[in-house]
């Protein structure tokens, strides 16, 4: 069996004095789409940030494509082939749509071209000269996702892409994510919306209090629906 593209082991992280992650462990194979589920405050976003290297202090093992990430600064990590789409989307308001799209540098060959991205998100092409701040929530989310597709990164970290969006847009994002998966991207997805996550993921990891407490494969979701509901507090 091939080694996982991303392997995390005993990851601990702190924000200043607060000890947020107490030993997170999981792995993602190439081409998989894996989710981190859990209630608010479970540490899902912190986990993504720790992989990306933008959390203050972290210890443990994070191996990506055979390389150790734990001691590297975030720009090095990005250049190894990981791209991050933050929860708050981070659209630069002093840049227009096209400048936002072109901002993340290409780190590896094989990323999508600008034309391909506009094909995936035609409404972004229409608005390409608009200032980032003038977009709606849904458009901003598409821009945030589109931005990282050009870089050539193999692993995409998506933090709550459907948060606060209308159901129609959520559906569209689901389609896009499934398309990305079929193109060969490996995706780590943080989601609160379980129903959405279930439509796209291969496996689900459940987090609680800064630890991974369970892993449920897509196929086994129906059998474990009760357990999941308890974990997520629904």
């Amino acid at each position: 069996m091939a080694e996982a593209l991303l392997k995390v082991d005993d990851l601990q992280a702190w924000y200043g004095e607060s000890h947020i992650l107490h030993g997170v462990g999981f792995e993602i194979g190439r081409g998989e789409l894996v989710t981190l589920l859990g209630r608010n405050g479970a540490g899902k976003t912190t986990t993504l940030k720790s992989v990306m290297g933008i959390v203050g202090k972290r210890t443990g093992t994070v191996r990506f494509d055979g390389r150790d990430l734990i001691a590297r600064p975030s720009d090095e990590i990005a250049r190894l082939g990981i791209a991050y789409c933050p929860e708050e989307r981070g659209i630069f308001s002093s840049l227009n749509v096209e400048e936002n799209l072109l901002l993340p540098p290409i780190v590896k060959p094989g990323g999508m071209s600008l034309a391909e991205i506009y094909q995936l998100f035609p409404n972004l092409e229409e608005r390409k000269r608009s200032q980032g701040s003038k977009l709606s929530g849904g458009e901003q989310q598409m821009l945030a996702i589109g931005r990282i597709l050009r870089t050539g990164a193999d692993l995409l970290l998506l933090d709550e892409p459907t948060e606060g969006l209308a159901p129609v847009i959520v559906q569209r994002i689901g389609e896009i994510i499934r398309q990305l998966k079929s193109r060969g991207f490996t995706i780590l997805l943080v989601e609160q919306n379980f129903h959405f996550a279930a439509t796209v993921a291969d496996r689900h990891y459940v987090m609680e209090d800064g630890r991974v407490v369970d892993m449920i494969a897509s196929a086994d979701v129906q059998q474990n629906i009760g357990k999941l509901q308890t974990y997520l507090g629904v």
Binding site: G53, S74, D75, F92, L102, L103, P104, P105, T151
Partner: protein, 293 residues
């Protein structure tokens, strides 16, 4: 020729030209300050000293090494800019995590050191620098020294080039994005610390460039930046630090206002910019072109 409100045209246009020249320097210097503040969140009090260093570099190059003005225009900003890069890497970088006031105090201390050293070595009386384009043209309503006309045009060009560089180029996009959200820009793979260092160097180089341009007009002296930097601070408060174009317009505009005041009410000419600042604070505290943060 005609007289405007009892003021002979030579006096009026002479002062307006002077005001335009002062405004050119206000614009160049507040531009540099604004760019540095945007990226580093540091008020570069050293800006006046670095402006002075540019002028001194040109003067030393001329008197010691026979290097002419046009070469100094390129070399001085490079040298002083490099010096700025060293300052950033050795000192400024280490205090970003602190309250912004410490940056202000640090650059103030550096200004004292630099100005003190230059004053100690070369005294505070000025040294003249020969005009690279001597002579001028009589326009009828006033006499225009050619070099001074050149300075205004050069300053405009420099400001517009800077504006273009920031608002329309890829590098400028990196700068604007990193000013908004440096963590995210770094997470995209851009070496933000290096970008910050470079930005400081560029801002300092801009100040030094202004200094070279100033050398033939003013006396080159250790204290030439001291009072200027205080006026530039007021310009920056009036314009609001958010917009690049705002700094440029405000700089030139205030220079003209100052010139006009010198014509019609000379005692207030030193303080008029500060009075405008007080008014702006009353009406629009964020500055004329600023966004409320």
């Amino acid at each position: 020729m005609f007289e405007l409100l009892g003021i002979p045209p030579q006096a009026l246009f002479g002062q307006l030209l002077l005001g335009l020249i002062n405004g050119a320097f206000y614009a160049m210097l507040s531009l540099g300050l604004a760019v540095i503040f945007g990226m580093l969140n540091v008020i570069n009090f050293t800006h006046g000293a670095q402006y002075m260093m540019g002028a001194f570099a040109a003067w030393l190059m001329l008197t010691q090494l026979d290097i002419p003005f046009w070469a100094a225009l390129v070399l001085a900003p490079l040298i002083v800019g490099l010096f700025g890069i060293v300052l950033e890497k050795v000192l400024l970088k280490r205090i970003y995590h602190l309250d912004h006031l410490y940056g202000f105090l640090l650059t103030f201390g550096l200004a004292l050191i630099i100005e003190g050293v230059f004053q100690w070595k070369w005294g505070s009386s000025g040294a003249p620098y020969p005009s690279p384009i001597p002579g001028g043209t009589n326009l009828g309503f006033m006499f225009l020294p050619t070099y001074r006309g050149f300075v205004v045009v050069a300053a405009l060009v420099i400001c517009l080039v800077t504006w273009y560089g920031i608002e329309r180029t890829k590098f400028g996009a990196y700068l604007r994005a990193a000013t908004e959200n440096p963590t995210l820009v770094r997470a995209f793979g851009i070496n933000v610390p290096r970008l910050i260092t470079l930005t400081y160097g560029l801002g300092v180089g801009l100040a030094a460039l202004a200094g070279v341009l100033a050398a033939p007009i003013q006396q080159v002296s250790a204290l030439m930046g001291v009072n200027l930097v205080l006026v530039v601070f007021a310009v920056v408060v009036i314009g609001g630090m958010g917009s690049i174009m705002g700094s440029i317009v405000t700089g030139f505009g205030l220079g003209l206002v100052e010139g006009l005041t010198k014509v019609f009410y000379p005692p207030a000419s030193n303080t008029v910019i500060f009075v405008v600042m007080a008014l702006v604070l009353l009406i629009k505290p964020a500055g004329l072109f600023g966004q409320t943060k």
